[in-house]
Symmetry: C2
Subunit: 156 residues, 2 copies
């Protein structure tokens, strides 16, 4: 019989990472949606975190999210229409405008944080999460190879 090419020997590490991320994020997203935030995608949560401490301009937001400033501007437009952010005059003046979170966004961050920690705690009952976390930190450290981590993006 013909022997075309060796099959992947085990579940590939790359595959497992992707599948783990996909399943965990899906579960997180479903639970957050259950709590009334079905209108927010992961990128919105990342935007909230990027804006958390004191706000930012949409150009700064663009850099932190790894998208163009036009895309960031569209995200901010969308979030503003839905009451999650406000645009305020920028203290440094110029053409800048400071994008800041509203109370609604802070409430979402609090809920999302609680959901995430509850989820990790549940996982902690079934496997050694701290070992996994330590291994992943090493993996990320090795692959980043001294460079700063790029923004987290939809991958492909």
């Amino acid at each position: 019989m013909p022997e075309p090419e060796p099959p992947p020997p085990q579940p590939e590490l790359t595959f497992l990472l992707g599948m783990g991320f996909q399943l965990l994020l899906a579960e997180f997203d479903a639970r957050v949606a259950e709590r009334g935030y079905g209108d927010l995608r992961p990128i919105h949560g990342l935007a909230f975190q990027a804006l958390r401490p004191a706000g930012a301009t949409s150009s700064e937001l663009a850099a932190r999210l790894g998208v163009t400033k036009q895309a960031a501007g569209q995200i901010v437009d969308d979030l503003e229409r839905r009451g999650y952010v406000r645009r305020e005059p920028h203290p440094a003046g110029g053409r800048r405008r400071l994008v800041v979170l509203t109370e609604a966004a802070h409430r979402h961050l609090a809920v999302a944080g609680r959901v995430l920690h509850a989820l990790e705690a549940e996982l902690g009952d079934r496997l050694d999460v701290s070992e996994l976390r330590a291994d992943l930190e090493r993996l990320v450290g090795v692959l980043a190879d001294g460079r700063p981590l790029p923004p987290l993006r939809p991958v492909w």
Copy 2:
């Protein structure tokens, strides 16, 4: 001073999974591209794997990739134009057509396999990959909760 919400305590597990996947896939993709396959995206590799043993109809391919049959049809059209697959009459007749891999696709699978294993071997020199793999298998098992694993998709 106001105390808005607790900051995430550590690098979140979800974040680390996503970042690990993103970095590892990017490195894999770059190395495969260096070997002359810059024209193939991850979805094409997944399609090759789904078609490997004896080919499949494009509807079967759609199911395995988790996309509509129209999307699978477009992927097949694209791969056919570029010489990675052929459409043959289906032995079971009907309107079906069997999509099979050409030698070019088998060569790509062989190259991609070697690159992936080399990459994992390099990581193995710097961290305990088998422990990580075992942890990830447990994580995926817990999150899948008895259900079959869904197709791997771009996540968000």
